[in-house]
């Protein structure tokens, strides 16, 4: 009777006799026959209805699923029990690392065609239009690589900490991942946004959906060791060493300057965990820097070295790229902080409202300077604004989810959101932003996004100035 006996004494072929029949085999008997007859009638109506809906949809571009008025006794999805209600489901651990439903296949990271010519130095955008809450699933976290990604063997990965001269750091050290993971760890939720997020839209509307306008944005619970703790261990001179160079182990050996002021606050992390598991290889496995509130390029992946210095380093991505061109022909260098910004993710560009009536307008707000204090939503192109509900928790330098009730009357509407952070900074319109920074900055576009809901229900990306 023991399970040992069962498994060892019963060869696979013999056990076939114990298999239960396929689900459809379970529908039998007189009662089921009645259900079937009724359902067949109902299904004919349903198919007829669906066809009509599809035709209607072709005009507006919608693929709406109707909720047909019950005829012939009711909805066949209720009257005719489906196989999953009548059969035996799949066993545990069918998949040792579970995957999303097969019906979720549309929810993918995507590249913007023509944005870059190589796939190794490129971007994939997170599908914000399909995400809930504030956490980005690890497989959908946006990607930005400068020389391709690697799956680095953590047993061979090392972190070196040194100084640009001997006095800046007393004891240069080398750490293994085993050692770093023994140190006291913290776990914190933060957003990460590329400095070039929404960069394609500086001049005019260029891309159709929120995935491409705002998808260089993700949010996760990061786990790791505060960098200041490790710098203290190594005897860093915090007085003279006001800058740190972070360097990656990939081909580009990506480097960025991190101000010591941020590190001293204990916010900057040597992170290995992301949403409860290790970082994904595309996001820097096994070690990356987390620099809350600062653009993603500073969150150096495959982090191999930290150098304490007494001046900024003017690395490639601080002197040639990630510099913001201003109308006076000067570039802003070391532009790092991601200012307060928000976007409505549903409804958003490329979507189709299925019908008039109630909708939950929902979106994301964030600020590199702290917590979100308030989000206002307009459905009339910025003439009138209502405060949205901010969903708890609202954390510092982290995405916040907002929601607002809205009844769509079928007329054209322009949906916008405007965030205000705890410093009182108000997210600007395109007009206000461009009045100061022009149209050629590429980086740090935090303007209010407008979505035009057309009479057909289709939502389009639009700029008002």
């Amino acid at each position: 009777m023991s399970s040992d006996n069962d498994s060892s004494s019963a060869p696979v072929t013999a056990s076939a006799g114990r298999l239960r029949r396929a689900p459809e085999g379970f529908v039998r008997g007189a009662d089921a026959g009645v259900v079937f007859r009724e359902a067949r009638q109902g299904r004919r109506d349903f198919i007829r209805q669906a066809f009509a809906t599809a035709l209607a949809g072709a005009a507006g571009g919608a693929a709406a699923q109707s909720n047909p008025v019950p005829s012939a006794g009711g909805d066949p999805h209720i009257l005719q029990a489906p196989p999953h209600t009548l059969g035996l489901g799949q066993p545990v651990a069918t998949d040792g690392y579970g995957k999303p439903s097969t019906y979720e296949a549309n929810v993918q990271r995507r590249q913007s065609p023509g944005l870059t010519q190589t796939a190794q130095s490129s971007v994939s955008f997170a599908p914000l239009q399909s995400l809930f809450g504030i956490v980005t699933p690890n497989g959908l976290h946006f990607e930005r690589h400068h020389q391709g990604w690697w799956d680095v063997d953590p047993s061979k990965h090392r972190l070196m900490v040194n100084g640009s001269d001997g006095a800046l750091l007393k004891s240069p050290k080398v750490f293994t991942m085993d050692e770093l993971m023994r140190l006291p760890a913290v776990s914190r939720f933060h957003f990460i946004e590329c400095g070039a997020n929404t960069g394609m839209e500086w001049g005019n509307v260029a891309v159709p959906t929120v995935q491409y306008t705002h998808g260089m944005l993700s949010c996760a619970e990061f786990t790791g060791v505060p960098l200041n703790l490790v710098l203290e261990m190594c005897g860093a001179d915090f007085k003279r060493g006001r800058y740190v160079l972070a360097e990656g182990a990939d081909g580009s050996s990506m480097t960025r300057t991190i101000p010591m002021e941020l590190i001293e606050r204990g916010e900057v992390l040597l992170a290995y965990g992301c949403n409860g598991e290790m970082l994904r290889p595309e996001n820097g496995y096994p070690l990356r820097l987390v620099v809350p509130g600062v653009q993603g390029v500073s969150w150096v992946k495959y982090l191999r070295r930290i150098e304490v210095g007494d001046q900024p380093y003017a690395t490639k991505d601080e002197a040639i790229h990630y510099v913001d061109l201003m109308p006076d022909g000067r570039h802003r260098q070391y532009s790092s902080i991601q200012e307060c910004k928000s976007v409505v993710t549903t409804p958003s560009g490329g979507q189709v409202l299925l019908d008039k009536g109630f909708y939950n307008v929902s979106g994301l707000a964030w600020s590199g300077r702290g917590r979100i204090k308030r989000v206002d939503v307009s459905t009339d192109g910025g003439r009138n604004w209502r405060s949205a509900r901010l969903e708890a928790p609202v954390m510092s330098k982290c995405l916040a989810r907002f929601n607002l009730d809205w009844v769509w009357d079928g007329k054209p509407a322009i949906v916008q959101s405007r965030a205000i952070d705890e410093t009182g900074y108000v997210q600007p319109t395109y007009k206000q932003l461009r009045a100061v920074r022009g149209r050629r900055s590429i980086y740090h576009n935090n303007a209010i996004q407008s979505w035009l809901v057309t009479e057909s229900g289709e939502v389009r990306n639009v700029q008002l100035s």
Binding site: A63, Q351, R418, L464
Partner: protein, 347 residues
Amino acid sequence: MCSSRKVFAAWAVVLALGTSCAGAQPREFAGIGRAATASEIAAWDIDVRPDFKGLPKGRGSVAQGQDIWEAKCASCHGVFGESNEVFSPLVGGTTAEDVKTGRVARLLDPSFPGRTTLMKVPTLSTLWDYIHRAMPWNAPKSLTTDEVYAVTAFLLNLGGVVGDDYVLSDANMAQTQARLPNRNGMTTRHALWPGRTAPKAVPDVRATACRVDCEAEPLHASLLPDHARGAHGNLADQNRPVGAQHGANTAVAAAVSAASPARANVSALLGQYACTACHRAEGKLVGPGLGDAGKRHRARADALEYLTGKIRSGGSGVWGDVPMPPQTLPEADARRIAQWILDGAKP
């Protein structure tokens, strides 16, 4: 009561001790980390700062750089560093005057297409450091120190910063730095740099949160043109098939845009769609002369279709490496321009 008070007292002592220890000196984490050796530091500490700290001794000439360039760099960056095929162009857009002033004048011209590396880079250390650590693209860190000097020298020579006989070395990096065209073109006077030493800047864009009857923005809206609806693929496949909204089916051909109202002449269209920013009727500007384009393609059976499509889709390779971006204009207007080009591009 009594025992809980004892427990509380005991915790207070632990807390007090903990606080005083932490305050006295950094926590020690016994057994974690070890001293880095000199050779380990030498292997990884390769960064070069703007003051040239970290720069290894060495030298390389423009001529040596040219040979390396043609073998290892030109396939991506073009023989003259001008290519836009793989990466943004490295060279172009700077003048001898810029070398004197340290400010690239073209950065003030919004109609100048693109920004090359030499138009932006303010620090020579940046070029040296990045070529050294990350180039060539598919074999990073494979150049010797002298080769990095040589390639850097050749790049500067392409940009007219140094002469054909120049030899770049650790001894003359600082004086070469003083010739970089955009060396005075950067600013850190902004509120996005937390590392800026006092005085701290305040945010430059100051908006207010008007809530009722606010001034609405004018409705001369920028919209994605109909023909570009499907440029990112079928949006129906990029949205969850269940939920409050579904994705728009952009695979079905968008309704053909209504033709623009007839215009008196094509030159208005050329201005309206900024064709003249890059083209003139005769002779090359950024792109080919339009008359030349007409001559080249006139013999094609599908000349009108081809040029109409080319105007809207852009491309590169027919007339050189400088790409023409896709243009957003109604097909009818593109067709009128194409016909005019084929007719000889007469003013």
